[in-house]
Symmetry: C2
Subunit: 190 residues, 2 copies
């Protein structure tokens, strides 16, 4: 899955302390226009921006829930919004995912069906039972079809939940134990 760098600290020398370097970046003008005077992108602003860039296809509004989810995943400073470095990282990740999605969507319909989604999830290295895959597909599809924004929400959640599970499965026995408060905190924020 092309989400390298997620959860890692921002790369050293990435320009965060050098506004001049940021402003030379071709993406910066776009970021600044969307972010407005506070220099930060909220979930609503991210939705506007991804809709305008037509990430969802057909100029449909990009799913706001997916935007909140992505900001929550990348929000290292707990600001509930996104600075330029986080935005740039997200843009690269989303572009990678869009390419992956288009390669799965063989009939170029703009959506993937359950068979294509099964293949995509397996190719990311997840080993899930047919029942679990069926639940996931049911949850993220409309009329049996999964759009790009729902595909992204699915990938982000699957990755985050797998990470949460792995951290509590240190002895590698395939089981993870949660206390109630920990369980609610982990699962409600995703």
């Amino acid at each position: 899955m092309n989400f390298q760098g997620y959860g890692a600290p921002a790369a050293v020398g990435y320009g965060s302390g050098f506004p001049g370097q940021q402003q030379q970046d071709p993406l910066y003008g776009y970021f600044a226009a969307v972010a407005g005077h506070d220099g930060q992108i909220s979930a609503e602003e991210l939705q506007t921006c991804l809709t305008q860039a037509n990430f969802s296809g057909g100029y449909r509004p990009f799913n706001l829930e997916t935007c909140r989810l992505m900001i929550s995943m990348l929000d290292r400073d707990m600001s509930c919004s996104m600075g330029f470095n986080e935005f740039k990282e997200l843009w690269a990740v989303l572009s990678g995912w869009k390419q992956h999605f288009m390669s799965i969507d063989r009939d170029m319909s703009g959506t993937v069906d359950s068979q294509e989604m099964n293949l995509a999830v397996s190719s990311m290295g997840y080993r899930l039972s047919p029942q679990t895959m069926s639940c996931i597909i049911k949850r993220f599809s409309s009329n049996g079809k999964i759009s790009f924004d729902d595909y992204v929400a699915c990938c982000v959640k699957l990755r985050s939940l797998t990470d949460l599970f792995s951290k509590r499965n240190q002895v590698q026995q395939g089981m993870a134990a949660f206390q109630y408060d920990d369980f609610i905190q982990c699962t409600m924020s995703i």
Copy 2:
């Protein structure tokens, strides 16, 4: 939390086998108009219907994700859509939640803030740490405010996740153990 009957089988004699009785119900005409010729309401149709009924306030579109979540919670026949009985049950539940929400929203702003949300969650009987409450509020708010549709999504998820946890915590030691596939199936479908 006013979500009685959720998860329970449909009440006996509820009229499901008696179209005449259903049609006498004042809500039936509305349901039939929204459901169209298939007699079932999809998440998109539910969104249209709850937006028109102004559940979200200010005639903003009701959050589609919350609609999917509610259908998923009530979908006993795994059809991904909702028949009249499920719709009627949901309508009653939502009306109860709307009243609860309005009683929390003391300044009548149409949204609740973090302090009001903390009180609401405690009054439902949940005992969560300040960190967990802070994560939840962050996840479901926009600019620190929680709208009715996000409040509903939060209540539905919290209830479902607590139920899932309780089922795996039979010995009541405050811990629940999950296998990976089970964990993913439970948490991805909510």
